[in-house]
Symmetry: D2
Subunit: 349 residues, 4 copies
């Protein structure tokens, strides 16, 4: 497959998630970043002239690209969007109408009933919504989204446990500052501190997770019946969101059942051998004090979700810790995996 790399574009290429897109596409076997677009402020400039937040350098492919205006119809058919929600709400549909396949990390269209909200290991079949999307909107292109970063990790953990029928979920997140973009969280606010509030985050976790775990019926998705309650906090960590999760199931499973479900979890990306798919989407760590963001978020190039500390919960049924890399599996890596899935499923032909 894909003997020649397909040209792709990045919308919003200058923020932390846009930069993660550029960095990962720069060494991607199937895709080649050929077009960058950003806000008017960056137009006409090149990435090496702007602030770059990653330890790895701007990749070869992207170094000389002049940043273009984000105008629908310009750039390749396949575009990755790291736009902010306000811009994405009108610009992504315009790109889809102009024939682009928009693989979006923005929140704007995630809850649109006709837009797939994908975690490929969990709900690859939600791509089936695209036919109805094209019909209903009259777009020659399409919009496909990945979830909010904290939601991805929760959805993968619950996806692994879906057969055990989760019914109620409490999650407290400890989120890294890279999730807030750039300049993002002022250092004066977060150094040696915790901020117990992230605007809109709890609502996203509580609603997006139920759509992801939902069942596709006809032209829509029937939401999963689990009730979810989230408390979100910001902590002084660069990359990696930690989540303390408790779950009640339809019937109380043994800890062995739960551990087995994590260990055996696999999905369509693993079947298809997608380039960004980790061998095991969820890795259970036995050590008492793991997973930790600084040591574990980068596992398998940031695409694996780490789970640990599984034990009985006296209030619900079981509790455990989940960790994922927020700008990789929680953003750019998630979107790229979505595009790989679509290519492998021949939805980009």
């Amino acid at each position: 497959m894909a003997t020649r790399r397909i040209d792709v574009g990045v919308l919003g290429a200058t923020g932390p998630v846009g930069q993660r897109f550029v960095a990962r596409l720069g060494r991607h076997p199937w895709f080649r970043v050929a077009w960058l677009a950003a806000s008017r402020r960056s137009e006409g400039r090149r990435l090496p002239e702007l602030a770059w937040h990653l330890p790895e350098p701007v990749p070869e492919d992207a170094r000389d690209l002049v940043i273009d205006a984000a105008t629908p119809g310009r750039g390749p058919r396949l575009v990755f969007s790291a736009l902010d929600a306000a811009t994405a709400s009108t610009l992504e549909p315009a790109f889809a109408a102009a024939g682009h396949i928009v693989i979006s990390n923005a929140s704007s269209h995630r809850m649109d009933p006709l837009v797939p909200l994908l975690v490929p290991e969990v709900n690859a079949d939600h791509l089936g919504l695209l036919a109805a999307q094209a019909r209903d909107r009259g777009w020659s292109g399409a919009i496909v989204t990945n979830p909010n970063c904290s939601t991805v990790f929760l959805a993968m953990a619950l996806g692994a446990l879906r057969a055990l029928e989760p019914r109620a979920v409490l999650v407290t997140t400890l989120q890294a500052v890279s999730g807030a973009g750039y300049p993002g969280v002022p250092s004066l606010d977060i150094l040696g501190n915790v901020i117990p509030h992230i605007a809109g985050e709890e609502e996203k976790i509580e609603s997006e997770t139920r759509k992801i775990l939902g069942v596709r019926r006809g032209d829509g998705v029937e939401f999963h019946p689990a009730t979810i309650s989230a408390q979100t906090t910001r902590v002084p960590v660069i990359d990696g969101h930690t989540e303390a999760i408790s779950v009640r199931f339809e019937a109380r499973p043994s800890l062995e059942d739960v551990a087995r479900a994590f260990a055996s979890f696999s999905g369509r990306p693993q079947e298809l051998g997608l380039p960004s798919a980790p061998a095991r989407p969820v890795v259970y760590m036995e050590q008492a004090d793991r997973p930790q963001p600084r040591l574990d978020a980068g596992r398998d190039d940031g695409m694996t979700v780490s789970v640990g500390r599984l034990r009985a919960c006296p209030v619900l049924d079981v509790k455990f810790i989940v960790l994922g890399h927020n700008t990789v599996r929680g953003a750019a890596g998630a979107a790229i995996l979505n595009a790989e899935l679509m290519l492998a499923e021949r939805l980009l032909d």
Copy 2:
């Protein structure tokens, strides 16, 4: 009351909690630190010669005290204990047998059925256990304890809500490094990181809270019926534990009921006007992003518990954030308040 300050001692005076004892007693209206004891390593030295971890200086009273051996019978009748649990388990009873009133921050005897585990605003009447303690153990002295730091803040929040009949509680903590003593957590482990495990902490929160909220009956305490489930994490914060809490009650209260219960909460220390008692033991903050450890842990000299972000919980009934100063209200300040209560209740006569 207390026209002359009463001489007191500090056991384990050199660690972070011991230093908090010394610092606070150094400016206390009723107590005067007159005797310091610590491990053999520090014997014969003075505090200014050892590592001191607080921004405030070693107080006048304590500066010239030569650190003594921790031998029962030496030192004043009233001693504060910042001993580690292993040492406290045998040394505190020996002090009590030798006639000392041991006001202990150690975990060793908290769950002893005849030892009061006090949060004076919540269960001042548990001091009633002391009669049975004296009878049963044959001690001329006594042991009185304060809870684990994370437990204090949870117990105060739940104490405020006791009339609403809490039945199930989920708490995730984000704990400061000063809670781990000194040298405590290596910087290599915690800088820019989260450690999702604190040995023994979850068990303490789950059991101690139920004793504190329990009802004294005869010579014992009947534990509170609420079920409690804790997940504890360490974060790169110096002072101040943050807790994300969800509670289910016997009957679902309105948010107004809960807010009113926090606002009207008061206890015996406020009635008695104890010197360390804050005007309001629990302060509710209206701002969306508060409380925060760096800004709020020190409120009222560290003795107030701050609460914020009260909202409905889709899984249990309500959720909110609680914050307290772990080495003050969660340790040294808690113990000193216990001693003030005993003095005011004429239990030190």
Copy 3:
């Protein structure tokens, strides 16, 4: 003196330095904050409605003040300016022309030959420039400035050593994030990191210090002959700038001479007993690992400069570490001390 508190205003009251002004003036014996002005964005609002960055609350006096437009002629005669340099460059002269005494923390007019750049312990006599300033500019008011934060601490250390005739100075700074204002340094840039550049800072240190240590002659200041070379870095610290300093003198002094000069240093604020004047402007610490920002920056309410680690320098003559609180002695506290000096010297009559 000052039986009634004098009404004062604060220009730029909403940033970190502006907030320090408000907080300190709120408990000042001579001044009463009666007027707040800020940018259009904050006009008409009150401080408690805006982001507040200090652990201490908005003081009583200031809580109900409605933020006014920064219009010359409005507000009290004495105004403290925490304006940014761009705004201050035109607005402060307009205030001075309208009759205000502007006590400024901004950099705009520091190097103006007729504007005193004060460190009251070092060059209180530079207030003598005000007569020429009034004559030359035709202002009924005046502008008086304090130095850049890093400069204050260096100037105080060198001020203490002035009689030893310093001739060459190398200084490397490790500066706290609160020095960069708010939102200031993005957390993504500084968490677990060092930024070896602060725009314009090295030039300020190299030039301002020589003016401060200079001798007033006629209507001007003859700069001090020492050559100064600065390297400035930003580190993940909230408050407190650390400086590693090496000095060559006209004749190599003994370490005892230098230590004695630090210990005996005192100035006009100490003579006059100004309310913000620390008993000793420079405190030498004997411990091998001090001063440290988290433990020592707040000494004497942040007004003392701490010095430590005095030893011979194999290249120049001596080297040592200096530490000061950048938003207090390096900004708001410095300006307030300037105003106190002017009041005591009857320059505000």
Copy 4:
């Protein structure tokens, strides 16, 4: 060369530097880690059972090795030493006497006149001391050392400038916590703080640098005549030491001369194409705010020293910022490069 990997051992394999040795040797083309030794506490255990501080996992080769006693004569001929100085002072000579080639990161023997203190790009010819070492000590093995971490980066920068004849050097370091080993610096001491003291570090920088830059004459090394003055501080950074350096030369060079010297710097490892040798040992960064530890310490797998901010120094001649990875180029990577050099120079035959 080296068609089969040579078996090597690691002394002190469980600390942060020992772990770096194991991790890097696990993917080394010439060496294969076949023997681990550590203190009695770890004997008989395997690395995966102990605390592991690196994000990368314990390498395949090392996973099943049982940690042995550090007994001379056991283990392969070539051993890397990450021992602490006290242990190394007697144990390394015992290993050398028993026929081992000890490639040591410990400080104990660095200043021994017959022990090469190597930075292969700067003084590869100091290996010539080994003949005299064997003769004088009667060892069938040998000891070769790499410098203190901060010294390596300074020595490489000065090595690049050697032809310009540096005569006086002032350096202030901002050092990462991983340089202090494990548990190392308590988090309570360094979170949001600076510690302006690292025991023994300044002396090492001031003396070791002069040996490294010295000229080998007969059986010894004539020290370089430059005078060096160091001030060392610890900052809350995980990996990467930053150094602010000022240099006076025999004759003041232009900034272009200095820049050209950095750009053209290369040495024996580059000539020989050693596996750990970076293409360019010193990389000059043009951006005003670089190098930074979090972004730049890992460049070229941590083996490159980054330099930036070159400008004139008003006191000496030029000043600039240097950054290196302290546990790689400043420790384990440095030692491995030394071993590669010895192998390529046929000194291990």
